[in-house]
């Protein structure tokens, strides 16, 4: 298989390693990096606005982040938020996108990227339901236990993306 330049899949772990379960994104990204997958770009970032540059020109991006969606801690939520999915509802990003830059989050980064034409065709959010964001705390047991399954989910997306490109 030959990929177009710049089209290698991107995996980004989003979050602060010093804020309890917010560190799960970087933890999963670190595990993916440790696998040494050929042709996959992996990085960890705290600032969601970094995504706007990171995923420019990428076909498939996987963002791993802690979420609070009402599920049990450690549950994994998958969301497709790429260009192929259409705009996110305004309620998802208006509060943060129109707030201060402290509040600028993933949804606002997605919509700003869309407005600028940077949003990849496929963006998959692998969200891990968090239990705690305490300063300096380690991952909670439920979230720690979800790291392995989250890595498997990321690999599944990458495999699917690779198959799509091969086809």
């Amino acid at each position: 298989m030959t990929r177009a330049a710049g089209a290698e899949p991107l995996v980004v772990g989003l979050g602060s390693p010093d804020r309890g379960d917010d560190g799960v994104g970087p933890t999963v990204a670190g595990a993916i990096a440790g696998l040494g997958l050929a042709g996959v770009r992996v990085s960890a970032h705290e600032d969601p606005t970094d995504l706007i540059h990171l995923w420019e020109g990428v076909d498939v991006a996987v963002v791993v982040d802690a979420v609070m969606s009402g599920h049990a801690p450690g549950e994994i939520v998958l969301c497709e938020v790429g260009r192929g999915e259409g705009p996110l509802p305004e309620s998802c990003w208006a509060k943060t996108g129109r707030g201060g830059t402290h509040a600028f989050g993933l949804a606002a980064a997605v919509e700003l990227s869309r407005a600028l034409g940077h949003l990849p065709p496929r963006v998959v959010l692998v969200g891990i339901e968090a239990a705690s964001f305490d300063h300096g705390a380690p991952l909670s047991p439920a979230v720690e236990a979800a790291v392995g399954p989250a890595v498997a989910q990321v690999r599944a997306v990458l495999t699917d993306a690779s198959a799509g490109l091969d086809a």
Binding site: A94, R98, G100, T101, A115, L116
Partner: protein
């Protein structure tokens, strides 16, 4: 949201003020077209950082206080290490000071570019946010993101990471970046410099409401350059004193409607921030910055708060110039830090945060354990000036309909780039008319 009061008046309510750092509230009462009262309501509980610091080691303030703000952590770190080093009698080297200034340039670049484009420009261009603005001004937003990235990259190189840097210590740094590492950033910094000057031109074309502030401006001044990381306190009334005398002149006090302490200088309201710095230290800007400011329509002083966006753009360009200068002059081999041995005493430090002068005071015992700490961030000091601006704005444009008046008042607040997160959270704007 607008509704009538029982006395025939009117309430205009905005659930959350947009495009400010953090969250808070505003209440304006208007009776018979006369503004009766204006309150910046900051009702988030205090965050108790000063109390957290008591009992901690003298080495910990740069890491603890950096956590107060994700946008201006370097301001806190720099003021705290300056204060601790003063107590301990530690003299840093010119190289350490240069590196602190380079790190601080990264923070100014990041913070000013964020405020200019993501928070303030939408006011002038008629958008709710940078996201809506990007549809019509994509090139401008792309430039903003490049500028911010240049600041982030500088922070990462010198500070160890872009948010809440970890490379700052009392006495200097854990590690100095190398010349080679700095040169890798140079092209982006050089390109950012030109885009910063383009920013000055761009924002100078905006329409600016007419408004003049008569307040006393306060900023740091350094004998050798436009003050950023250190200096002595000066004001437009001619007051001048060393940072250690800050507590003698600046008194903090509590008002019922704000959980962030207000402040007065020698018993009077004052203002810190870019307008104060520019007005007090214009002569120390580079010739290119001075020329660009004049071309943008600024004089050597600026007292129109709505034009703070131009002043921030001038400071953005200056920060890029300074970053380039430091990178070009840098020679490897300097020790990253000096030894700091704790001793009992009291010390003060101050620096110019993107939003204005920030002051720290610490008391150590002989073992270096913190006995007392005081932090005075710029937004706290500016609360009375923000309220005074709001009073004048609401009165000057009282004939506007509620929607436009609300927007003008929000704009007046955003002129200050208030970082309510530095003290508290949640802002809720409300105008009562009767």
């Amino acid at each position: 949201m607008t509704h009538k009061l029982s006395d025939g008046g009117q309430v205009l309510h905005v659930g959350m003020l947009a495009r400010v750092e953090g969250e808070g509230g505003m209440h304006i009462e208007i009776h018979n077209n006369v503004v009766q009262s204006v309150k910046l309501n900051i009702f988030e509980p205090p965050r108790f950082y000063e109390a957290f610091l008591r009992g901690r080691k003298y080495t910990e303030p740069p890491d603890i206080t950096a956590r107060i703000c994700g946008i201006c952590p370097v301001a806190y770190q720099t003021a705290s290490v300056e204060a601790i080093e003063q107590i301990c009698g530690a003299e840093t080297t010119p190289e350490i000071q240069a590196m602190r200034r380079l790190l601080y340039c990264g923070e100014w670049i990041e913070s000013h570019s964020l405020h200019i484009f993501m928070l303030h420009a939408p006011d002038f261009l008629g958008f709710d946010s940078v996201i809506e603005m990007a549809a019509d001004y994509g090139d401008v937003v792309e430039m903003a993101l490049r500028l911010k990235k240049a600041g982030n990259d500088l922070m990462t190189l010198v500070g160890g990471r872009a948010i809440h840097p970890v490379n700052v210590k009392v006495g200097g740094f854990y590690r100095m970046p190398t010349k080679l590492e700095m040169l890798a950033l140079r092209p982006a910094i050089a390109s950012g410099l030109e885009e910063a000057f383009a920013t000055i031109k761009l924002v100078s074309t905006f329409d600016f409401p007419e408004m003049e502030q008569a307040y006393e401006y306060v900023a740091l001044r350094h004998p050798d350059y436009y003050a950023i990381e250190r200096g002595t306190v000066v004001s437009t009334s001619g007051t001048a004193f060393p940072v250690r005398e800050f507590p003698d002149h600046v008194k903090e006090f509590h008002v019922a409607h704000s959980n962030a302490l207000h402040a007065q200088l020698d018993g009077a309201m004052y203002m810190v921030g870019p307008l104060a710095r520019y007005t007090l230290n214009f002569a120390q800007l580079s010739e290119r910055c001075k020329a660009a400011a004049k071309e943008a329509g600024l004089g050597e002083t600026c007292r129109n708060p709505f034009k703070s966006i131009i002043v921030r753009a001038v400071e953005l360009a200056y920060a890029f110039e300074e970053a380039l200068r430091i990178i070009d002059e840098w020679k490897d081999g300097a020790a990253p830090s000096v030894t700091v041995t704790p001793r009992a005493g009291e010390g003060c430090g101050a620096s110019e945060a993107p939003r204005g002068t920030i002051f720290h005071r610490y008391v150590l015992d002989a073992e270096g354990v913190i006995q007392d700490a005081q932090i005075v961030p710029p937004t706290s000091q500016n609360q009375p000036a923000i309220e005074a601006d709001l009073r004048e704005a609401a009165q000057s444009w009282v004939d506007m309909d509620d929607h436009d008046l609300t927007h003008r008042c929000e704009h007046a607040i955003r002129n200050y780039d208030p970082c309510i997160s530095c003290a508290t959270h949640f802002l809720d704007l409300r105008v009562d008319r009767s």
